[in-house]
Symmetry: none
Subunit: 118 residues, 2 copies
DNA sequence: ACCTATTTGTCCGTATGTATG
DNA sequence: CCATACATACGGACAAATAGG
């Protein structure tokens, strides 16, 4: 994997690494079931610390993009799982909005007005 | 704060620390606006590493229980689940949707098609 | 069943950077 | 300018789960 990170970039290294993986997923370079490099291997190849890679992997796991287990490594999850997570998040959002007396129309307006360019 | 953690407990130290704070919130020992001890202070008093405390704090932040900022420390947020938390949920939903390549239009459609039972 | 290597998980320590007050 | 406090990154050590011989 010819991935790169830049220590001078203000963006944290672990975010850069997570970003590289996300991009590979988006571009179709990585597919569900594919195994990511071991933390040690990727750390060596990127010339960063093992912990920095593992932190990136754990972030990707929190996002539901990969599975991460001891002794086994990191495996790309099926995109369908991500979609179901999205549905769960939508459910929770609607439930919370209803508790607060916020209508769906207002919810939709919040979504359309949010500026999330990050 | 007479908090304790047990190194022999199989539960990770940072989870124990997060648990102590959660419990204090539930019992009403901590109130919105209260400031948590600095990472350094709590680490010293618990006899654990600074990172271990900060990791616990970051987990609590991810749960929306506290605010955590450089130079300022950790402050308990309004537990009443206010409108600001709804905005946070919207942000996270949009972020997740973008990662999955789901447009806002599709997001809106998901919301409008969801049943109201819950 | 055993042993070993691999791989992530946790924790510690240190150093440096950045935002806040 | 200076002290405080969290953020990132490095490194090392050991534990625990997994896979393979």
């Amino acid at each position: 994997m010819l991935w790169r990170v830049d220590p001078r970039d203000p963006e944290p290294l672990y975010e850069q690494i997570a970003g590289v993986v996300r991009r590979a997923l988006g571009e179709g370079t990585l597919h569900p079931g594919d195994r990511l490099p071991s933390g040690k291997d990727l750390a060596t190849s990127l010339d960063v610390n093992l912990h920095t890679v593992l932190r990136a992997y754990q972030e990707l796991r929190a996002e539901g993009l990969i599975e991460l287990r001891r002794g086994r490594g990191a495996v790309v999850l099926a995109s369908g799982r991500g979609a179901s997570q999205l549905a769960t998040m939508v459910d929770e959002l609607i439930a919370q909005a209803e508790r607060l007396g916020v209508s769906r129309g207002e919810l939709v307006r919040m979504i359309n007005e949010e500026d999330t360019d990050a």
